[in-house]
Amino acid sequence: MPTKVERWKDEAYGMEIRDHLLQFAEEGWDAIPDDEHDAWFERFKWWGLYHQRKGQESYFMMRIGTPMGRMTPEQLRTVGEVAAEYATGPVENPEFGDAYADFTTRQSIQLHWITVEDIADIWDELESVGLSTIQACGDSWRNIVGSPVAGRDADELIDVWPIVQELHETFKGNDLYANLPRKWKVAMTGDRRGSGQGDINDLAFEPATKVIDGDDVAGFNVNVGGGLARKEPRFARDIDVFCRPENATDVAAGLSALFRDYGDREDRFNARIKFLVDEWGPEKVRSVLQEEYVDYELPTAGEGLRDEYDYNAGRADAAGDYIGVHEQHDGQHFVGLSVLVGRMAADDVIELADLAEDYGSEMIGLTQRQNVIVGDVADADLDAFLAEDLLDEHSPEPHPFMRGSIACTGTEYCSLSIVETKNRMVRYGRWLRDNVPVPEGVEDFHIHLSGCTASCAQPQIADISLRGMKTRKDGDAVEAFDVGLGGGLGETPTFADWVKMRVPADEVPGYIQNLLETYEDAREGPAESFRDFVADRDEDELAALAESEETSYEDPYLGNTKMTWYPYAEDEDMSASPAPTDGQGNSLPSDD
């Protein structure tokens, strides 16, 4: 029997939700019937809106999907202006102020404290510069990820930007693929870095070459069924298909139609295509694709470039991100800037857009490591650009502990999380920077902090994986983390080994300090990466590498932040919440 969500989707879903949202925007929050909240909130996701958590009723997170994280400076400025005007809540965040934008691990933008009353105005502003919230969430084609510098990167096999644009235009707002059994995440990589992180996507196009009819053809190998969530992580499986660039849309259409038709609509926990690949095996996926969904003979897989991949690969001989100055094809440069935990103040967003425009950049890129790239900086302008004040805060040469940190949304806004995340990761980063010697040779050290097992910060593929938990300390329940080590992508993708459970949040920095001291003392030399160091050790050795301990680090969020209405409010008690409000910030009566 189809699930409740499937029934809601049958009643209304896809493009038509826009009209309903505009109606609610006109009539106000109260016009959404109380007994239909769950159904409408599920449908709103298709147009990029998630209702925030308990205590924040009537406020939404809005996600803007930017294919491969690419924007023009004008688009970025609009994001900053929308954030400044609309993404402000009743209480400021102590680290980030009253308005900010979050850059996500899937190269999208998230704004918080959005009210339904403002939706029409926000869409007007975003759409006037070609931005959209369409299908940013919900059961459909999500934002397509890949390298934002495709076509500029001096180190790539194929410029995938034209192909990604075609996919985006074909599958956004397309009724045939609007209602899938679950989300559909696609990555396309054309470079030698592996920067699409295709292994953790439902559908991955990986760069490859193949000799066809005597010609050496550059294209893609096709992998299916990756994903990290639900305590069931999978890397995308090789279905032995090579895809020419001109066939990418047909293959993508075939596979998303296959998912639409054969995916499990009776159990949302079993709905992602990774479970269908588990059940069928890659061979059957290939044969059904061939027999039912494409009308040409699919070539077998070609020769991939995996051995060159370095993006989030934990290699000692190459940085695993885009931070710093890089050469473009055309002799100009792109500059990767660190954005700690992906959150940038709205004023900084606007300033960055102005700066990029001043320097003649036509491309801003958001990366899957929650950082930002400014493209097209001329050689002659490079020194002046690097000397700009904004780059003191968002640096192209950040400290390794600031550079590699990723965090999800956490209890600040998210209904699932059980711990505070972003502000804590900022505090961890600063403390580590100020107190822990960086092992010689380490340029970037990846710490991914996720608030629960939903894995939005991709905790299984980091040097150090932190996943929210609880523990007891001095008789009190406190926020804590399970700790994993040694995950990463690259030539041989590996999920982290989980070595500690329930480390109190205030003892995590001490644990990392002790761990890195052991690493530097016991490794074979700087050429042995942390990931290799972990891979060389068995379970017992890993568990014994370091102990957690209290240090000078202080954690203001140790208590149970999920029980507050907002973790940073002066009166954080759930009963002190002003929500729901009427769109002007005035509290409305609530039955809750």
Partner: protein, 94 residues
Amino acid sequence: MADRVLKVNAFTTFDLLDGHVEGHGFTEAAFATLNVRTAREDPEEITLELELDNTELESVPPHADRVTLSAADARTLASELTDAANRVAAAEDE
């Protein structure tokens, strides 16, 4: 080392309980998660699932335990738990 078997998020019933595992010749203590689950749609039974932190246990492999309850079973359990809670509360008041 093995990852947790059960997912843990804000909807988990208990993410921090004291647990024990006991067998012939061994007893070990560990923190535990305990969750009550029903199908989202037309549920026919209740699942009670329990997992002790495997990093604290040597005598048993990483695992979770599940029992299924009928609605009547669940009410019986709830009733017994309520009675027990009342007895504990009464004892605390004395």
